[in-house]
Amino acid sequence: MTAKSSSSPGPARRRWLYFLPLVVLVLLSALFLVGLDRDPRFLPSELINRPLPEFALEPVPGRGRPLESAALKGDVSLVNIFGSWCIACRAEHPMLLAIQREGVVRIHGVDWREKFPEDGAAWLAQHGDPYDRVGLDPDSALVIDLGVTGAPETFVIDAQGVVRYKVTGPITPEIWEKELKPLIAHLRETPQ
C-alpha cells in the first residue's frame, strides 16, 4: 500500500468503494433489527383452516364427559392445552375462568402429560374449573396431531370442527378482547 500506481483507473472512479463497508453495515443492521423482533419460538400452526383430526380422549377422573372430536361440532369453541405441571397455565387460569364467566364461548381442556390422571382433577378442584369437557392426553397423542410445542396453547375451532386460530402461550386480556372475541363473533356471523 505504498503510492498509488499509474495504471489504476484513478481515484474518482473507485471512490464509491470506500462507502461499500458502510453500505454493507447499514444493510446488515437493518437485517438484524428486523430479526430482533422475530421470536424464534413462534411457530405458525400448520393446522389453520384444516379440520381437527378425529380423536377421543379419556375424561379426567371424576369429571364425567370425555373430550372427543364429535363434541366440538355445532358451535365455535376454544380448545386449551394445559397441565397441572405447567406454570404458565397457572398464570393463564384466571383469564380462562373470566372467559367462562363471560359466557361467550365454551372452553374445552386437554390435560396434557399428567403423571397421574388424578393430578389434573386435583388442580382443577384447587384453582377452579373453566372447562366444558376435559380429556387426558398422557402420551401427547392429540398434542402431536395439533402440532403443539408447549403449554398453554389455545385453538379456536369453528362450528364445523375446523381449526381457525392458535394462541401460543397464555391468553392475555388483550388477546381475548382484540383477537379472540372478534374472531368468535365473526365465525358465528358468517356461516361457513
Binding site: S7, P40, L43, S140, I144, G147
Partner: protein, 177 residues
C-alpha cells in the same frame, strides 16, 4: 505418574464435573432413547433412529428427537415407531410430522423459494470472496514493481540518493580518533 497425588487429586472432581455436565440435567442415562421404546425388529428400529435424527425436537429447537430427553421428543419418537409398525414408509412418517409441525420440524430445511437465501448464500459469498482474491492478485501481477519509482519527482530522487549516501559504510579516514 498415574499414582501421583496431583493427578488423582483433580481427576476425581474433573470426572464429577464431566458427569454432571453430560448427565446432570438429563438424568443418569446419556442415551435419550429408553429401552422400553426400542422396537423388537432391529430393521424397523434402525429406520426409526434414522428418521428421528432428521426430526427436530420442537421444545429444545437445536436437538433432534433422537438425542433429546424432552418429554415431547420422547412422545414423538414413540409416534414415529408406532407409524413404522403400522407399515408406513420413511417418507410418510416424515410427512406426518411436517403436516403437523411444518418444515421447522426438519433438521435439514428443504430447498424451496423461502429457503433459497439459506442454501445459496454460502456458495455465493464464497464465489464473491474467491473473485475478489483472484482480481487482487491478477491486478498486482500486471502492475510493474518499478512503477513506484516512476512516480518519484526529481526532488524526491535527489533526496533518496542523499539518504542512501548517508547510510554508506564509513571509511577509515572518516573515523574520529
Amino acid at each position: 505418574m498415574i499414582h501421583s497425588p496431583v493427578r488423582s487429586g483433580w481427576l476425581g472432581p474433573l470426572a464429577l464435573v464431566i458427569a454432571l455436565a453430560s448427565g446432570g440435567l438429563a438424568g443418569p442415562i446419556a442415551w435419550a432413547v429408553q429401552p422400553d421404546e426400542i422396537l423388537p425388529d432391529p430393521a424397523l428400529e434402525e429406520r426409526a433412529r434414522d428418521i428421528s435424527q432428521g426430526l427436530r425436537c420442537v421444545v429444545c429447537q437445536s436437538e433432534n428427537i433422537d438425542e433429546s430427553n424432552a418429554d415431547l421428543a420422547r412422545d414423538m419418537r414413540k409416534r414415529v415407531r408406532q407409524l413404522l409398525t403400522e407399515g408406513h414408509s420413511n417418507d410418510e412418517v416424515v410427512d406426518f410430522m411436517v403436516q403437523r409441525y411444518g418444515d421447522y420440524v426438519l433438521m435439514k430445511p428443504p430447498f424451496k423459494f423461502s429457503t433459497v437465501a439459506l442454501w445459496l448464500a454460502p456458495a455465493l459469498l464464497l464465489g464473491v470472496g474467491a473473485g475478489a482474491v483472484v482480481l487482487y492478485f491478477r491486478r498486482r501481477a500486471t502492475e510493474p514493481a518499478a512503477a513506484v519509482a516512476v512516480d518519484l519527482s526529481d526532488e524526491e530522487r535527489r533526496r533518496l540518493a542523499r539518504l542512501l549516501e548517508d547510510q554508506a559504510p564509513p571509511t577509515d579516514k572518516e573515523t574520529p580518533a
